[in-house]
């Protein structure tokens, strides 16, 4: 059962037929802010620092788990140039914040639970004095045992990290998410073949190059605060921190300039710096500048959840997967962040359950995930949000199944992937109408990998192998508040202002949103300006996460622009004396369709409308079909559309040193519609590079709660020499609910890398690598073990 490329191409051509007359959507438009970035004139938050600002610094916990017996700040307070020293008792409002639940203290009061808990804050006239002041603060701790392993931490006799956590299930177990479908035990009893393995994925760091920073400025009129910081969710930052400042949300303004990347991390770390800068600003009544050092970013800010996955898979000898039974234990770190609570906010925990069955129609499934507190940095959102971990397990399982059945790995996928009308393990029916381009992705990867051509296996001590993986990944967050609002405004000369609270952090949404607005309104790209990430300027568009912005916020922009367009066309119909259904706006002109001589410049029509009581502003809104997901049985329709993809890699392993070279790298992603193909390529490339780093070299080393590698010197991210040439294929199967058919692409490219490389290693060496990263050290140790066993 294969896939014939020509058949698919016919189908795809039909889908795209009516999209051929787009002016600016789908085009390779240059990034709006690229020139400013190239000239060095684009302003990031740290560039707004002024000399008159006080410098904030924090004293962080000396031990990862300890009681605070005593704290004496008197010597620090006496130091000349120190304007304020704060401990927990000095806070103006609630000593707790968090995106989902306010369990993280601004300043630790009785106990520190990880190295990143602040115990005191200082504001001084300059950095040197602030640092000296920190040295003068004396803290007495009673050290407690620190927990590194969530599997140990979840035991009944483990030392309790949170005495009274408002949301924890039991002991150090924060939450448990379950999925059941069909009759799993029966399927396993009847299975021809069972594959069982334990997989481990590490904690890793986002390593965005722009450090976390906040400028907090007291507002002299409202008594509130302006917080300027790189963020990913300005409205949630405002909402979560308002109680910390003892201010109502309408007196807290959060403004995020151009951001030097976030990858999910700045959703939370923004709160870490804003809370500290904000309370210091309120206390000193002066503007405070607070920036984390790179070491503090490593030790204190959120990380990717480390996971331990026990994956069992049952199949028939014909290659049909009949059941899975999966248990995942996640290292939650010290605070909830995006770990997940009760329904419906299970976040990362939920994804490990949801994606445990991969992109397959498996009739029987059981998946249970536990999110467990440890004395580690809080685990938060990071590109992929639990999916890379889940897919590492399931895609490795599939490969082993293929080998045991002596079946081609791609053929096995094709036997099991979801097609139009099939249900996933979470019970959602996959629909062609929402874009289901998985088969095309698989076919294209197979072709470009030259998969049928036999591989030259060995050259001396170097061995070659090929690996494959496939995935589906939802667009958006399965939460009740999923949706977006924005403002669309005509200026009186017909130029356009769009205001969205999303963040431009390098993914190019500023440009994509401009394209969408221009296309919808029929105006020139250069006549649209999009204002971003300012809580005062725009309503909540939701977080800039989950690969959702192009789709969810894009739709809200279309909605707002369509309202504006309709108003002008309505007004024009009276001016031009025609039925409003016969009016259109294109290339900045309003006209009666079929009568080009009636064309009037849009600017003058808008100017006229303005003086004729036509409102020129609209609120654009979009909600997807209401997301559902039950934390009890894991069934529901969590996202309205899914990106699909396939990954092929060919590697060469030096069996004497364990070093891996990626020789071929092919990635195909179905994005529905590439609003800007350059942006999509950039996301695919960058996401894949992050996947390569995760697979081959990145690993945070925690020992008794202490981070051993807290700098770029000891935490390697891929350099230009480490990333291979990539063959990236954009596939488009439009999503009927997406803007011009679009779905999300920000995260999907990071999802399939690790299992594809792992499967290539298996192919090359016959060795199963169930723990990432595949560093030369791990690879050579496994090779030697294997050689010793077989000699």
């Amino acid at each position: 059962m294969g896939v014939i490329l020509e058949d698919l191409e016919q189908e795809v051509k039909a889908i795209h037929a009516d999209q051929n007359d787009l002016n600016v959507v789908g085009k390779r438009i240059k990034r709006i802010e690229a020139l400013a970035k190239a000239l060095g004139t684009a302003r990031y938050a740290a560039d707004l620092k002024r000399d008159d600002m006080l410098i904030g610094k924090a004293l962080f916990a000396k031990h990862p788990h300890a009681l605070i017996k005593k704290i004496d700040t008197s010597r620090a307070e006496e130091l000349e140039g120190v304007i304020a020293v704060m401990t927990a008792k000095d806070l103006p409002g609630r000593n707790g914040y968090g995106i989902l639940i306010p369990d993280k203290p601004v300043i630790a009061e009785k106990k520190v639970k990880y190295q990143g808990d602040p115990v005191a804050l200082v504001a001084a006239v300059n950095e040197e004095i602030a640092k000296k002041a920190l040295d003068l603060i004396e803290v007495e701790y009673a050290v407690l045992p620190a927990l590194d392993d969530p599997r140990e931490a979840m035991k009944d006799d483990a030392v309790l990290i949170h005495e009274n956590h408002p949301a924890a299930d039991k002991g150090n177990i924060l939450t448990e998410v379950s999925l059941t479908r069909g009759d799993v035990d029966k399927a396993f009893a009847e299975a021809d073949i069972i594959i069982e393995n334990l997989y481990e994925t590490p904690m890793v760091d986002h390593s965005y190059l722009e450090p976390d920073v906040c400028i907090a400025e007291p507002d002299p009129i409202t008594g509130g605060l302006l917080l300027i910081a790189p963020a990913q969710f300005v409205h949630a930052t405002k909402r979560s921190l308002a109680p910390v400042f003892n201010l109502p949300p309408n007196k807290v303004r959060v403004l995020s300039p151009v951001v030097g990347a976030g990858y999910g991390g700045k959703e939370d770390s923004c709160l870490d710096v804003c809370s500290i800068a904000g309370v210091l600003a309120l206390r000193t009544k002066k503007t405070v500048y607070f920036e984390l050092t790179r070491e503090e970013i490593f030790r204190n800010t959120g990380k990717r959840h480390a996971t331990y996955i026990k994956h069992r898979l049952a199949a028939t000898r014909e290659g049909k997967v009949t059941a899975i039974d999966v248990e995942t234990i996640l290292d939650k770190g010290a605070y909830v962040s995006m770990g997940g609570l009760r329904e419906p906010t299970h976040a990362v925990t939920q994804r490990t359950v949801m994606y445990a069955g991969g992109a397959y129609a498996i009739p029987n499934a059981r998946a249970k995930s536990y999110s467990v507190f440890t004395n580690h940095p809080y685990s938060c959102a990071m590109r992929g949000f639990g999916a890379p971990q889940a897919y590492f397990a399931v895609e490795s399982q599939m490969d082993e199944l293929a080998r045991k059945l002596e079946m081609d790995p791609i053929e096995l996928r094709l036997k099991n992937i979801v097609r139009d009308g099939d249900r996933t393990i979470f019970g959602q029916v996959m629909k062609k109408s929402r874009g289901l381009g998985l088969e095309e992705c698989i076919a294209k990867v197979k072709e470009r990998m030259e998969w049928e051509k036999p591989l030259e296996r060995t050259a001396g001590s170097r061995k070659r192998g090929r690996g494959f993986s496939t995935f589906l990944y939802g667009t958006g967050v399965p939460l009740p508040f999923e949706g977006a609002s924005c403002y669309a405004t005509f200026q009186t000369d017909g130029t356009v202002s769009i205001a969205v609270s999303s963040t431009e952090m390098g993914q190019g949404l500023l440009t994509a949103f401009t394209q969408i607005a221009a296309e919808t309104l029929g105006v020139d790209f250069d006549n649209v300006v999009v204002n971003i990430s300012d809580t005062d300027a725009s309503p909540d568009a939701g977080p800039t996460v989950a690969s959702r912005s192009t789709t969810v916020v894009g739709n809200a922009i279309i909605n707002g622009c369509t309202q504006l367009k309709n108003r002008i066309m309505d007004f024009a119909s009276r001016e031009l004396k025609a039925d409003s259904r016969d009016i259109d706006i294109k290339e900045g002109k309003v006209f009666i369709v079929g009568k080009p001589e009636t064309a009037v410049p849009l600017g003058s029509m808008v100017a006229k409308a303005f003086v004729n009581q036509v409102p020129l502003s609209a609120t654009g809104v979009w909600y997807p079909p209401r997301p559902t997901f039950s934390g009890e049985d894991g069934q529901g329709d969590p996202m309205h559309a899914y990106a699909f993809g396939a990954q092929g890699v060919e590697i060469e392993v030096d069996t004497e040193t364990g070093e891996i070279d990626i020789v071929k790298f092919v990635l195909a992603c179905d994005v529905g519609k590439a609003i800007n193909p350059v942006n999509v390529e950039q996301q695919m490339e960058g996401g894949a590079a992050m996947g390569i780093g995760w697979s081959l070299m990145e690993e945070i080393d925690m020992s008794n709660g202490v981070m051993k590698n807290d700098s770029f010197k000891n935490y390697p991210i891929p350099s230009i020499k480490d990333v291979p040439e990539m063959d990236l294929i954009i596939v488009e199967h439009p999503n009927e609910l997406g803007p011009f058919g679009a779905k999300g692409i920000g995260e999907p490219p990071t999802v399939p890398t690790a299992p594809a490389i792992r499967n290539a290693l298996y192919d090359a060496l016959g060795i199963k690598f169930n723990k990432i990263p595949f560093t030369p050290q791990r690879v050579i140790e496994e090779i030697k073990k294997y050689e010793n066993k077989n000699s």
Partner: protein, 284 residues
């Protein structure tokens, strides 16, 4: 306590400053190791003595056939020097340290003074049997590089001394050198295991060999046991024999290094031997 910054124009000026400040001074050469320590307040000097302005320390020259690198010569300057070209191993070691912006500032002398166990250039200098000339107001003394290191990040250099130059003995016509290191990623990474080799052959026979190992002990060490096993034998036979012997001079804390050290040693020897077999003419 305030810090003073000095940029002496001559060696004697620098030595006088060192006499005055002793351990309260730090020498800034390329700065790539020491500036971080100053910023992070790991050291708090009364005097910063910046030596890049001392002309005689910037020289690369040949003295009686020996290669002499001045104490303020940078890695990039070594890479670009025609006099250094024939020391393949030195060029190989130096050209992969850090990344280009680091190499534009960092120096072999600074690397010696910093004494990191994994320092690439130190390993190669050890294989080349380099001599370090230390200058102080009291005169000069010279020490073999392996006697300089006292422990991880510790040397025997006195507080009033600085490295004036590094002398690398002339290579004979039949000597070829090489350097290989193993890292986690392909650029700007600290070595996990590194090997520097200086191989002297007569036809296919190994007449002399120096094998230096890095990141495998508290400081770079010579694998004397393996060297003795190689000398006098056919290169191929010697390589095959020593492949089975893990050098006792290496005491790695990480056990996996035992699995790869011999491979890297073999490859480094072969790399040098290939040059010898290829006619052996030194370039430059």
């Amino acid at each position: 306590m305030k810090t003073e910054f000095f940029k002496p124009a001559t060696l004697s000026e620098a030595l006088a400053l060192l006499d005055k400040y002793q351990e309260k001074a730090v020498i800034v050469n390329g700065g790539t190791d020491i500036v971080i320590k100053i910023t992070q307040r790991e050291v708090n000097p009364e005097a910063i003595i910046y030596i890049q302005g001392i002309a005689e320390l910037k020289e690369i020259k040949e003295v009686n056939g020996d290669l002499v690198l001045g104490g303020a010569v940078t890695y990039t300057e070594v890479e670009n020097s025609s006099l250094c070209k024939k020391y393949d191993g030195l060029i190989q070691a130096v050209s992969e340290i850090g990344s280009p912006p680091i190499r534009n500032m960092a120096t072999p002398a600074g690397n010696i003074a910093n004494a990191a166990p994994a320092a690439d250039c130190n390993v190669m200098l050890l294989a080349l049997k380099a001599e370090v000339v230390l200058a102080s107001s009291g005169g000069e003394r010279s020490a073999n590089i392996q006697d300089i290191f006292a422990g991880p990040f510790k040397t025997v250099i006195k507080p009033n001394e600085l490295i004036k130059e590094i002398r690398i003995p002339q290579l004979t016509a039949n000597t070829h050198t090489s350097f290989i290191k193993m890292t986690r990623r392909k650029a700007q990474d600290i070595a996990r295991v590194s090997v520097g080799v200086s191989l002297t052959t007569e036809g296919s026979v190994c007449r002399d060999i120096k094998i230096a190992l890095g990141a495998i002990n508290k400081f770079p060490v010579r694998a004397y046991t393996l060297e003795e096993a190689m000398i006098g034998k056919e290169v191929e036979r010697g390589v095959a024999e020593i492949k089975e012997i893990f050098p006792p001079e290496a005491t790695p804390r990480k056990s996996y290094k035992r699995l790869v050290t011999n491979v890297i040693i073999e490859r480094a020897i072969r790399k040098a031997y290939r040059k010898a077999a290829a006619g052996g003419e030194h370039v430059g």
